[in-house]
Amino acid sequence: MTPNNNFTIGVLALQGCVYPHRPHIEAMGDAFKAVKTEQDLKQVDGLILPGGESTTMLKLINAFKLKDVLVEYFKDHPVWGICAGTILMAKTVTNPEQDSFGLINMDVERNSYGRQLESTHYKIEGYPVSFIRAPRISCNTPDIHVHARRDDDPVWIEYDHYMATTFHPEMTLQFPSPMHTAFHNLIADKN
């Protein structure tokens, strides 16, 4: 951990939208780290599971034998899943069914709003974000705190030391995003 309530925030960097997080993280005075190995993981106070292709990430997590290491890390470190990352955190995944870490008691349907032609801009708490081939969350328990919805769908949720968003704030060039700030606060609470 770095001093003065500043942290090292990791982004799982096996595949996907990793580096756009850097300016958001650095704008909060935190340090950014791309995480590819068990060694990297030991150096971060919280981990972002970024946007990308969840199927690819699962294959690479298995190919590089990171599954057990991540399960152990997730037990007592803050984790924020974005889009594909949200899918990895789900209890069950549909369209199609696939493996997940089951960190939050929610069902997640992949590509639930449609293909790329249905990808769209949106504002969450006044901040422009994008939904890209986005998944849809159904909460299975009232314990999950819903920060924001798109129509009726929960799109930004928090549960215990976990956070998930089905949209992308990281590509918006106003630093830091409210979601990055919320994740920083989640890490601060845990420390």
Binding site: G52, E53, P96, Q116, S130, M171
Partner: protein, 299 residues
């Protein structure tokens, strides 16, 4: 703030999907079964084609957009994004692909060009486009027309990486030159490159293309993928290199692994030992007849 293009379309929805594909491998497939093999191996996306580039070379004649039923079948078979190619300048093929609902259109020199003067006005479309380029001027012309993703052209279907390397190095060198220029020199540089001035200003300020930049054309091994990534490609397209190899499943998995850890020779080595077969037979570029040099198509 969200970036918008000249027609007010929000660019980051179009480039946004390309951001999600970074650090991955996009594989050419010609059937739903191949698409499943690609997805199971960890491809981030597939390119739906009637023939891979090496077979397009062999078949000769006019290469066109793939039949819509084939593309739809592939879209049904996998959950990852599906791309498809249209001919350069053939905006009616692009309209069909948009109506099918593909996730990205490749306005590609692999197919026979439909227009020898003009590319498609890609701002007219909601679906994002990827285009090939050999140099910075060509890349910025395509971005000016609305491309949301660039790739090297390489020399498709040859299994020979030399042209992709040439194009990647050329673009990198031209970007470095622009970054070091005095602002007063930019307009003349724009004139010489045939590049839009406003886009050249962005390149000078940011030190990179305004959209993601991937590698394509001739990638046949895990080492080829690692080479392109180390030269600055953000993802690789593999065309004939997987399904024209001895063992497509192993080649696909190994190239995915090598791309994820392109900077770690130990992992690229490990991936290279898992191929269990020989790479596609390559072609020396000088053996190609001039009209069959696909990289020279596009203007």
């Amino acid at each position: 703030m969200a970036k918008t293009d000249s027609n007010g379309n929000i660019i980051n929805i179009k480039t946004g999907l390309a951001e999600m594909l970074k650090g991955g491998v996009i594989m050419d497939v010609v059937t739903a079964e191949q698409a499943k093999v690609a997805e199971d191996a960890g491809a981030v996306s597939v390119m739906a084609l009637e023939r891979v580039p090496s077979d397009i070379r062999k078949a000769g004649g006019v290469a066109r957009m793939s039949p819509p039923e084939l593309i739809e079948e592939i879209m049904k078979a996998v959950s990852i994004p599906v791309m498809a190619k249209c001919r350069i300048g053939h905006f009616a093929e692009a309209q069909i692909l948009e109506s099918i609902g593909v996730d990205y259109i490749d306005e590609s020199e692999v197919l026979t060009p439909a227009d020898e003067e003009f590319h498609i006005n890609k701002h007219d479309f909601k679906v994002p486009f990827v285009c090939g380029a050999k140099n910075l001027g060509e890349a910025l012309r395509r971005i000016g027309e609305g491309a949301a993703l660039m790739r090297t052209k390489g020399e498709p279907g040859t299994g020979n990486i030399v042209e992709a390397v040439r194009h990647m190095r050329k673009i990198n060198a031209e970007i470095r030159k622009v970054v070091n220029m005095d602002e007063a020199e930019l307009m003349t540089e724009a004139k010489e490159l045939g590049a839009p001035y406003e886009l050249l200003k962005i390149v000078r300020a940011e030190g990179k293309l305004p959209v993601p930049n991937f590698a394509a054309g001739g990638i046949a091994t895990p080492a080829d993928a690692a080479l392109c990534m180390q030269l600055g490609a953000e993802t690789v397209f593999v065309g004939s290199g997987i399904f024209k190899s001895d063992n497509p499943e192993k080649f696909a998995k190994a190239i995915v692994k090598a791309t994820a850890h392109y900077n770690d020779p130990a992992i690229v080595l490990e991936a290279s030992k898992e191929l269990e077969g020989v790479a596609m037979r390559g072609t020396e570029i000088s053996e190609l007849e001039e009209p069959m040099k696909m990289a020279n198509r596009g203007w």
